[in-house]
Symmetry: C2
Subunit: 133 residues, 2 copies
């Protein structure tokens, strides 16, 4: 990848940058996760989205255990280079809870309510091994 | 606001949580910024989006100097409570560069290219006072 991209990105003190995943055709915002330089390089090289897992401290190839992979359609950088927007094609569900998107709890009438159904049993996604968010 | 929301949100070590702003009807991802508890409370109370400016160290009432305000349509929390999604109605342009969205530079054919026009002269937005991102 050209240096222009990495010159434009401002990684934080931990070498990470937040990345928003948006379904390329429907516009759904699916999730937000973090990437380091290696995750970005792998994502661009393979066309499959790879994040950095802060909890596990390693590369997180989205869908590796669940099968719910994200194909990369476009990688976009914001004005000050501190956030990425990934236009993706999400296979199945993005959320480890089995919902299409991680953004499924909304404030309505002063309460926090679920606005999205579970589409896939999380046990079916991870075979009882727990999730690797 | 009910405690349920603030119980659900995991603020970082600086008391902040990232918030993605998405145009409610078109699905455009406009920007990503940060909120603290006070910014969220003000946003819910007024219906106008207020962030926390990390650079200025104060509340950032979006559009206060530029006029490009964001009306709040819905506030959504993700599965692990560490990111917010704001469905907004953006008046004019979200980006201090005068573009509709801050996400205007995409990787194409190995290069970083601008994919969105400037709609408003930044000088007209800020009267030559610079931007307050």
């Amino acid at each position: 990848m050209s240096d222009a991209l990495f010159d434009a990105i401002k990684f934080d003190a931990n070498g990470l940058v937040p990345a928003i995943a948006q379904q390329h055709d429907t516009g759904e915002v699916l999730m937000m996760a973090w990437m380091n330089r290696a995750a970005i390089e792998e994502t661009l090289a393979t066309g499959r989205v790879c994040y950095w897992s802060r909890s596990r401290g390693g590369l997180w190839r989205k869908g590796e255990s669940s099968g719910q992979v994200q194909g990369l359609k476009e990688l976009i950088v914001d004005c000050d280079g501190d956030t990425l927007l990934l236009k993706v094609d999400q296979l199945g569900v993005a959320c480890h809870t089995g919902r299409r998107s991680c953004f499924y709890r909304a404030v309505r009438d002063g309460d926090l309510v679920e606005i999205m159904p579970v589409e896939v049993d999380p046990k079916a996604l991870y075979g009882g091994c727990g999730h690797k968010h």
